[in-house]
């Protein structure tokens, strides 16, 4: 058990230099946490400004160019600097080595390097904002981006380009670590599903990211040197850009989602006090989603002028993704069956994840269906759908992970009551913000519109109200989590009585995680029934952890 007297990875050395030059995967995870939180705040701020502007049909506080820049920056920052690195770079970095019984990632220097690469990308992005912003949409579609936009396209594209390499190097580190660093007895099918999720994610990071890197590079060459790769005036094909772009950017959605699904598997099992149901099916469905994800990108292009035949093929393959996704949800549900379910903050976020992922996933099937997609393509229906998946589900998983492993990472407990309140508040705010957008979308409200016909106003007002609640819901955790760093009760090694190697070591862990290399003899998720009645007395700290 940790106390002020014990050495751990946080207090073993001091000073800025010890952090900026650290090779400890846990400290690098914390560095990512700081960077990612900053960008989340920036992206969220842009979102709120957009929602405020959309209160009225006519512009009332920002001009159309500003509006276009805000939604572009919201998209670029949230996609490349928040969602993609969030769970893998923070929690994956922190937990994957511990969960498999390793002392560190396989390549600690590379790990630190990729954080610097990420930050350089981030500063390029901030530079793009400071020098006037960019207004192409995060999708950078040509020929608008290459020839017509008069904003910082090259800088913004290079920001995404550079951040991509951070993602590649992180993924590379995961795969080598998982292959080569497992402790004795940690067989492939004893790995926590969180690790499986990260393995699948890392595959996408390594095989998908380079394609968008080269696509953005070609875009930058075209814009900077005028070589006209996608320029229709030289005979280039703007649709080709979309193919190359979505070859990565659709699987990228699974970079955001798969680690989150790993988190949910951990949390559901822990707070149901039962082994996860259908371990193999959940593990393989992660791989299936990762690989199928590479075969479905054309569903972003049904109206684009891609051939009708290709549209049909892509629609069919997209439908297939519904199957592994459904498998996961059903297995989580079955895990709760005859369990002993408790409702700590992480569990509330996990339940919120299931609810929001159900809506996001099922509306995804709407969009995969050709006849329906033509109408709702590029409308608020799509906006609502991907926010349900990427914000509703992924951010719920992110916050769930933060609340689940916070005691392990910081050695401090946060107060349960505000945490539960904020979990419910974000769920409510989120639904209020995005459910009306499905209706708006089916009504025909196109996305990326600064102004809109009067009859859409009421739904926009609802949406903005929901976004404000959501904003508050995100702000509360920031407050009590920072508070807990200084005033929170000291966390025991295993506050949730959870299974897994990370709970066997002290909170916070020591620099090399394990005093002795552990030998794994147990199956994963070996939960054995409800907690004993005196479980709370066991927690000497006296705080009600909600277990």
């Amino acid at each position: 058990m940790s106390s002020d007297g014990t050495l751990n990875y946080l207090n073993v050395t001091h000073g800025l230099k010890s952090w900026l030059l650290t090779l400890d995967h846990k400290r690098i995870g914390i560095l990512y946490l700081i960077g990612v939180s900053m960008f989340f705040a920036v992206g969220g701020l842009f979102a709120l400004l957009l929602r405020v502007e959309l209160l009225t049909p006519e512009p009332w506080f920002i001009e159309s160019d500003t509006y276009n820049k805000f939604f572009t920056l919201h998209g670029v920052v949230m996609t490349f600097f928040f969602l993609i690195p969030s769970i893998p770079a923070i929690f994956g970095n922190f937990l994957v080595p511990i969960m498999i019984g390793a002392k560190d990632m396989a390549f600690p220097k590379l790990n630190l390097f990729s954080w610097y690469v990420y930050m350089v990308g981030g500063f390029l992005g901030v530079g793009a904002i400071a020098l006037g912003g960019v207004d192409t949409g995060w999708t950078f579609y040509t020929p608008y981006s290459s020839g017509y936009a008069s904003s910082q396209v090259i800088l913004a594209a290079s920001a995404a380009f550079v951040a991509g390499f951070s993602s590649i190097l992180t993924g590379l580190n995961f795969i080598v670590t998982i292959h080569k660093m497992r402790a004795p007895g940690m067989t492939w099918f004893r790995m926590p599903l969180f690790v499986w999720g990260h393995y699948a994610t890392a595959l996408i990071m390594i095989l998908g990211t380079p394609v968008i890197a080269v696509t953005l590079l070609l875009l930058m060459l075209e814009r900077g040197l005028g070589i006209g790769i996608f320029d229709p005036k030289l005979g280039g094909d703007p649709i080709l850009f979309q193919h190359l772009f979505w070859f990565y950017s659709h699987p990228a959605v699974y970079i955001m989602l798969l680690p989150g699904m790993g988190v949910i598997s951990e949390i559901i099992s822990c707070f149901s006090r039962k082994p996860i149901f259908g371990y193999n099916f959940i593990a393989f469905s992660s791989l299936a989603i990762a690989i199928l994800g590479f075969l479905v990108w054309g569903h972003h292009m049904f109206t684009s002028g891609q051939s009708v035949y290709t549209g049909v093929v892509f629609s069919l393959l997209t439908m297939a993704v519904a199957v592994p996704s459904a498998i996961k949800v059903f297995n989580w549900t079955a895990t709760m069956f005859k369990g002993s379910v408790s409702f700590s903050a992480p569990m509330l976020y996990a339940l919120g994840f299931i609810a929001l992922f159900l809506v996001g996933g099922l509306t995804g099937v709407f969009l995969a269906t050709l006849g329906l997609d033509i109408h709702v393509h590029d409308t608020y229906f799509v906006v609502a759908h991907f926010h349900f998946v990427m914000v509703g589900a992924t951010v719920s998983a992110y916050l769930g992970a933060l609340h689940f492993w916070w005691p392990k990472m910081t050695g401090r407990m946060y107060p349960q009551t505000p945490a539960r309140v904020s979990a419910l508040l974000t769920l409510f705010g989120f639904v209020l913000a995005f459910l009306p957008q499905f209706v708006l979308g089916y009504l025909g409200m196109p996305r990326r519109y600064h102004t809109y016909p009067d009859e859409f106003q009421l739904l926009h007002v609802f949406s903005t109200a929901g976004a404000s609640v959501l904003g508050v819901g995100f702000l509360i955790p920031a407050i009590y989590l920072v508070w807990s760093l200084f005033f929170g009760k000291l966390a025991p090694a295993n506050p949730w009585f959870a299974k897994g190697l990370e709970w066997d070591i002290q909170s916070p862990p020591t620099t090399f995680n394990f005093e002795e290399t552990p030998i794994v003899k147990e199956e994963p998720y070996a939960y054995d029934g409800p907690l004993p009645d005196n479980s709370e007395e066991v927690l000497k700290a006296g705080e009600n952890y909600g277990v």
Partner: protein, 239 residues
């Protein structure tokens, strides 16, 4: 900081082995990790170039004649000679890895210098090739003031061919230049005596990288230079 584990064999001695990083259990695990990591890196390099080859394929399908006209502007003899030069550099690189395996510090440095020599020959030839394109108005960089003025611009797609020619060979050359930087680092590493028969992943991975660059060229050569060899000239060939 960490006491050795009695549970795992071989754990005890690894802190005494200067070649073993703290988080690995033994040299074999370390070496395999390095090899796996390098191959994953090559997989991403592969996809990176693959995206460009994909775009190349689509446009060649759109503009077969333009591609041919463009290709006929290239000097096949020089391209073939350069291919041989690059293959030789791959051979010397393989010899450098062999020297590292056998623990010959001198051999490693000798072979790497030879590799760099062949690489430089390749790049110098490339420079003259680019310059020739410049003289013939085959540079498609309009925002730099280098307009594509050669007669082949009359053939649809020919200009795009040169966009790809410069994009792909440029990216290939950039990888070689990065390789040169890495070579210098490997040489310093070797001089410091850090390359031994037990631990020479640095040289091995350098070799993998260099061979990969070679493979990219193995495809670029037929796909860029050999398209128009058997047909009659489309238009305005200089050679």
């Amino acid at each position: 900081m960490v006491s050795s584990s009695a549970a795992v064999a071989g754990h005890d001695d690894h802190h005494h082995n200067p070649h073993l990083a703290h988080h690995f259990e033994d040299l074999q695990q370390q070496r395999e990790s390095h090899a796996l990591g390098m191959w994953l890196f090559l997989a991403q390099e592969f996809m990176f170039f693959g995206g460009m080859f994909g775009a190349y394929t689509i446009y060649r399908y759109f503009y077969p004649v333009g591609w041919m006209a463009g290709s006929q502007q290239l000097n096949v003899t020089i391209g073939a000679a350069n291919t041989v030069v690059l293959l030789c550099s791959s051979f010397t690189m393989a010899m450098a890895v062999r020297a590292a395996q056998l623990g010959s510090k001198k051999g490693v440095i000798q072979q790497i210098l030879l590799t760099m020599f062949f690489g430089s020959v390749f790049l110098v030839v490339k420079y003259f090739e680019y310059y020739e394109k410049f003289e013939h108005g085959l540079m498609p960089f309009s925002t730099l003031g280098l307009e594509f003025t050669n007669v082949v611009k009359e053939v649809p797609g020919a200009q795009l061919f040169f966009s790809f020619y410069f994009g792909m060979t440029g990216m290939h050359a950039l990888h070689m230049v990065i390789g040169f930087g890495l070579f210098v680092w490997v040489i310093i590493h070797t001089l410091q005596g850090k390359v031994t028969p037990e631990k020479h992943s640095v040289v091995e991975n350098m070799g993998l990288y260099w061979h990969f660059v070679d493979i990219v060229w193995i495809f670029l050569f037929p796909l860029l230079y050999l398209l128009g060899l058997n047909g009659e000239p489309v238009i305005g060939v200089h050679h």
